[in-house]
């Protein structure tokens, strides 16, 4: 593997082929009456073909490009924590209800990067959850879910 482009192109090669193969299931039809799988099939082939182009292009590039560790010196655990909290928020959204769920998420996010004092965190989380409830539920009338506690 020469560089990061070559690594990512392998992913796209696999993805393109998978799309093309899967499209066959929906029926390609004929040229005079193309079926539901026709254009997905072509797009899959295009992805795979272009991935090959990217892969082989890298050999003709001067050697200074190397595989870089894209997560070196990066604070990737924070990314995982933020992402994890968002997934959890989504899963609990209907169960806990908008206000409680949002309060918990905001409190977590406000502490995850830079630990602020708990008073600031509480004030921020209450403000964000309450404020967004007023704007979106009461004013814009988005129908946000009520949780098992009834709010």
């Amino acid at each position: 593997m020469k560089n990061n482009d070559q690594r990512s192109s392998i992913f796209w090669l696999a993805a393109g082929l998978a799309i093309a193969v899967y499209s066959g299931k929906y029926g390609l039809g004929t040229l005079s009456s193309p079926g539901p799988g026709f254009l997905p099939f072509l797009s899959g082939l295009a992805i795979a073909g272009l991935a090959l182009v990217v892969f082989f292009q890298q050999f003709s590039k001067p050697g200074r490009e190397k595989i870089k560790d894209l997560w070196q010196k990066k604070n990737w655990p924070t990314v995982l924590m933020v992402l994890g909290s968002l997934v959890l928020y989504t899963l609990l959204f209907n169960f806990l209800g908008f206000i409680l769920d949002t309060f918990l998420l905001m409190a977590f996010l406000l502490r995850v990067i830079e630990p602020m004092s708990w008073i600031k965190v509480l004030a921020g989380a209450i403000g964000a959850a309450g404020g967004s409830y007023v704007i979106f539920e009461l004013w814009l009338q988005a129908q946000l879910p009520k949780g098992f506690l009834g709010f």
Partner: protein
């Protein structure tokens, strides 16, 4: 023409529409100022909340966000050397240097005035060009439409900063995403992975908020950015006479460049600001001074990126084809409001077209009034620390996506595309071709199938009709061009420059 403009002003001057225009440009400027939240994400955020108002008001507001963001983006470029928008990247080069020399005021001033003049000129261009073009477009059949949409995608990938094959992969992947869901002709659900909400197709809003909103936050939290607002007193916003003399031609040239590059499907604000900077450097009598804080380097690109927004509305209103991610959002909005975008739009909904166009004129005046005195406020907003800001950005994205269909599945979809966008940025893939292709996907599939049915399966139909033949030749040229040695070299230099930033 005159009566149409009058009709437009009648619509745009209604208090309700004035209000939405104001909200639009205000929010636009705000997201332009805030790095990491662009007009596309802001428009998708506000889209659900516009369902209660009339389509005209909604489009007026959404358009206001677009050109408002172009204004706001320049403020951060000049003051903190961080472009709020991709289209303001070049403004950093000379704008920030001017600020360091204590000339932040005139830099901000000329950016605002230049944007105003360019915005106005491009609206006039839009008024004159759009109606006749729409009439011409009535002669287009499915093959022409298919070729045009293909051309738009190819131009966007051709102009993409990095590698063209990688941009094309993104376009092809976006096309595939656009095809997910129920097939219109046979009612077969495709690629829904067992998730029923995907039968309606992959929504534009979750994808855009994921790619542009969530992914940006993820990138920022892993390397918390320390913004350092340039501590200078901003005094004397008005450029002096010499500044005006230096900037007059760059503004006019920037307007023309921006407008015509904006019309091109796939062109747009980012490219036109780069081209304008290059042109100014070329025609200047002192090119060596560029990058040290010359006012031409601010006036030209800032005018160009604003003029491009006007130009970008032409393919949208005349053909119903979006030319970039922002107009793709607007197209999505039109469809939600039950309008049929295409050549008939102007004649069927004159109030919408002329109202939107004249509101842009009013919006530009509002921006000028808003920006000069409010710069102090924008600077204060820039000082909000990121650890406080990012939870709010995430919260807005979450609520925005949910309230679209009251479906948590779409939040999941947004988070998925947040991760995809995060990885795409890590591995240097561009999101714009993906978004444009996602919107064009169903339209392209329809046109392609109709064309093939028309020709009884002969692909020759794309090469025998004169208009589609010409477009196809351009497409092929653009695909072959990067392979030529000297073009290849130029593109590599540009790509390296982009990477260095």
């Amino acid at each position: 023409m005159f009566s149409n403009v009058l009709l437009g002003f009648q619509v745009a001057l209604q208090p309700m529409n004035l209000f939405f225009c104001f909200i639009g440009v205000l929010i636009g400027t705000l997201v332009g100022v805030l790095p990491g939240l662009g007009p596309v994400a802001a428009m998708s955020l506000l889209l659900p909340s516009t369902f209660h108002v009339s389509p005209v008001s909604a489009i007026i507001m959404l358009a206001g966000i677009y050109y408002g963001a172009m204004y706001g983006g320049s403020t951060t470029s000049i003051l903190v050397n961080i472009p709020g928008e991709a289209a303001s990247v070049v403004t950093c080069l000379d704008g920030y240097q001017m600020a360091r020399k204590g000339r932040a005021g005139p830099a901000l001033g000329i950016a605002a005035f230049g944007s105003f003049i360019a915005g106005t000129l491009s609206i006039i261009g839009l008024m004159f060009l759009a109606p006749p073009l729409a009439e011409g477009a009535l002669k287009f059949g499915p093959p022409e439409y298919f070729c045009l949409m293909l051309l738009g995608l190819i131009i966007l990938t051709f102009l993409a900063g990095g590698s063209m094959p990688k941009a094309l992969i993104m376009a092809a992947f976006g096309l595939f995403l656009g095809l997910i869901g129920m097939d219109i002709m046979t009612a077969t659900p495709r690629f829904n992975f067992g998730l029923y909400f995907l039968n309606d197709g992959v929504g534009l809003v979750p994808v855009v908020m994921g790619l542009f909103g969530i992914s940006e936050v993820l990138l920022n939290v892993e390397a918390v950015i320390k913004t350092d607002v340039f501590k200078t007193k901003i005094k004397g916003l008005l450029p002096n006479l010499q500044d005006w003399k230096d900037s007059a031609w760059p503004i006019i040239r920037g307007s023309v460049i921006g407008f015509f590059l904006g019309i091109l499907p796939g062109g747009g604000a980012v490219i036109s600001s780069f081209v304008s900077y290059a042109v100014e450097k070329k025609v200047s009598r002192h090119p060596e001074k560029f990058g040290t804080g010359v006012i031409e380097g601010v006036a030209g690109p800032e005018s160009a990126n604003n003029a491009a927004t006007g130009g970008a509305f032409i393919p949208l209103f005349t053909l119903g084809i979006p030319s970039n991610a922002v107009t793709a959002m607007l197209l999505g909005a039109l469809v939600i409001y039950g309008m049929q975008p295409g050549p008939m739009l102007i004649s069927q909904h004159p109030d919408l077209f002329w109202g939107a166009v004249t509101s842009m004129y009013i919006g530009n005046i509002m921006l000028l009034v808003l920006n000069l005195p409010l710069i102090g406020l924008w600077v204060k907003i820039l000082k909000i620390p990121y650890p406080v800001l990012f939870p709010l950005i995430l919260l807005f994205c979450l609520i925005g996506v949910y309230s679209l269909n009251n479906n948590t599945g779409e939040i999941g979809l947004m988070l998925f595309f947040g991760v995809v966008g995060y990885l795409m940025k890590k591995f240097n893939y561009e999101a714009a071709p993906l978004v444009l292709a996602l919107v064009l996907g169903p339209m392209m599939e329809n046109a392609l199938r109709q064309a093939l049915i028309m020709s009884n399966g002969g692909a020759g139909i794309f090469f025998t009709r004169p208009i589609s033949l010409v477009i196809m030749l351009v497409v092929l040229t653009l695909l072959v061009l990067p392979l030529l040695p000297w073009v290849k070299k130029k593109r590599e230099i540009v790509a390296e420059m982009a990477e260095d930033e």
